[in-house]
């Protein structure tokens, strides 16, 4: 089967890619700017074609717990929301992480805190990469920077989720969710007919019963479990780092940016170079695990690193940890739902060069 070319919104691309990835279930609740995901799935009605279940839940809390139930049956299940809704899902997400269940959670980020704004932001970075709910855990976090990646990362997320028995988050934002671009859609995959051995599918006589829980009242056993998680996260850090570089080879000034900000900074690199400033861009694709090693080695050869994100400065902390004091690290970005423009980034960089 050939890939199919379409012009789609990022949100629609996620929905279509989920059907094509052979997802078994989607549970969601409407919230701007990501309602198109649920709307698209309802209209596509995949229950007639692939048998995928699509259900509008009574709340984000219910939706993530439906995901828990489905994931514990070994099924490919997902939910999506935007920032305030993701906050509501955090309880379910930590239980899912604690029960080591694979699933996909999409966050089409909008500005906060609180009800905030419905316009795009990147202010959920801490929540996404450092845990989000209570307890020691991590999600695997993928940051798409195009509609194409919105589609491609669905299948990748399920693959990683099942490989590591860990929830995966696609951390997008209102801009990528709402914008249309060309997207090559992968051919339809069949839904899996087999179940992982840990799944609760009804206990046949020949196997022990499967129990999905995140509870252990014995602190020593719980500590052993925590250590197991740490080992898993370390393995993920070792094997799953993904990033992309633009003109980093001769760069003297390095931008680090993900998602929409990375698209902005790509243009900033062009604008800066047109003015004789040798800029480059490193775009983390995985936010957990973070490309710390690569940023650390680039820090050996650049003069300044500028972390650009639509937040008050969250990812910049990871950049600083990666750089470990080797070069000055700055943060620049707009907030409140305003997307940083390429020339603003260049102007800020110039002020630092001149100022420095």
């Amino acid at each position: 089967m050939e890939k199919e070319l379409r012009l789609m919104k990022g949100n629609e691309a996620i929905a279509e890619a989920a059907i094509r990835a052979g997802a078994d279930g989607y549970f969601g609740y409407p919230i701007t700017p990501q309602s198109e995901i649920l709307e698209y799935l309802m209209e596509a009605n995949p229950s007639r074609t692939t048998g995928m279940v699509v259900l509008q839940a009574e709340s984000e809390i219910a939706a993530i717990n439906m995901v828990y139930g489905g994931a514990a049956c070994g099924k490919k299940v997902m939910t999506s929301s935007s920032s305030p809704g993701i906050s509501l899902k955090q309880e379910g997400i930590t239980y899912i992480a604690g029960a080591e269940l694979p699933c996909l959670i999409v966050n089409v980020v909008r500005g906060g805190p609180g009800l905030g704004t419905i316009q795009p932001a990147q202010s959920d970075y801490f929540q996404a990469t450092k845990g989000g709910g209570h307890g020691d855990y991590h999600l695997i976090v993928l940051a798409p920077a195009s509609v194409q990646e919105m589609a491609d990362f669905v299948d990748l997320s399920f693959e990683l989720a099942f490989k590591y028995r860990n929830p995966v988050m696609i951390l997008s934002d209102g801009a990528i969710g709402q914008m249309m671009e060309k997207v090559w859609l992968a051919p339809q995959k069949e839904r899996s007919k087999t179940y992982p051995e840990w799944a609760t599918t009804g206990k046949p006589p020949e196997r022990e019963r499967n129990i999905i829980t995140s509870l252990d009242l014995d602190p020593y056993a719980q500590e052993q479990f925590n250590k197991k998680l740490v080992a898993k996260y370390n393995e993920i850090r070792e094997k799953e780092v993904r990033y992309e570089e633009f003109q980093c080879d001769d760069a003297e000034y390095l931008f680090v940016a993900y998602g929409t900000s990375a698209r902005v900074c790509q243009k900033s690199v062009q604008l800066a170079r047109a003015q004789g400033i040798k800029a480059g861009l490193l775009r983390p694709i995985t936010l957990f695990p973070y490309p710390s090693v690569r940023i650390g080695s680039l820090a050996e050869k650049v003069r300044i690193i500028l972390s650009v994100e639509m937040s008050a400065g969250q990812m910049v902390e990871d950049v600083m940890l990666s750089v470990n004091g080797k070069v000055p690290v700055f943060h620049f970005g707009r907030m409140g739902g305003i997307v940083t423009t390429p020339d603003e980034v260049v102007d800020y960089l110039k002020s630092k060069i001149i100022g420095g």
Binding site: A62, N65, C73, T201, T213, L215
Partner: protein, 271 residues
Amino acid sequence: MAEVTGIKEIIKPENLAYKRTRIMTDNVLSYCPGCGHGTTHRILAEVIDEEGLQSEAIGVSPVGCSVLLYHYIDIDWQEAAHGRAPAVATGIKRLLPDKFVFTYQGDGDLAAIGTAETIHTCNRGENILIIFINNGIYGMTGGQMAPTTLPGMRSSTSPYGRDVKVMGNPLKITDIIATLPGTYYVTRQSVHTPANVRKTKKAMLKAARYQKLNKGTCFIEIVSNCPSGWKMTPVQSNKWMEENMLKYYPLGDLKVPPEETVQNANNPEKK
């Protein structure tokens, strides 16, 4: 003195009056003496076993005293977050519609923190069984006031008795559930006497069969006791339950399947 009879002598099949339910595990129950959970677990296990559902059953355990329920019955289990069991069960049943899916929840779990999940799951008519243990108190956390705590009833967070003007009224959630079109069979039972145990088991058997027939949500409330939380002996607690709880939460069916109503109308004696 007569010779002591050997233990093997006693448990000859012909001497067996009662035996452990086959699919109950050997784990020691974590419940207080006199608590209704143990009995309820047993009849649930009996129903699963007798209906041949062991290989199809997926249970969802709650947060509350029965949080460790998955240690006691030998089937596949999922442990849900507090109040979320109906949503979890929805996820399971939607993806594995042929399995026997049930939740087992206490009053705090089902009627306080999980009210939205309970109502909406029943309203969608999810084809699952919800077993609701109502003992009017938070047992696991040490006897705090529950949504179903009776007016004037003392608990650690209503030490002077539940003042309904300040703390609200006990929630008859089962009555609400019975009004929802998604529910098929809604009943209130108890397990404090052998006769009541038999009735409750019968209700569970019906619910299991209705689920096979995709009839919609079945909801069984079991009014129960909490000797520790109520600070009574088991016997006192059962008496108190009869005199107080059952007045507020009277036993009986709140919603009977339509065909059964028709049947009963045709055979008045059967009623």
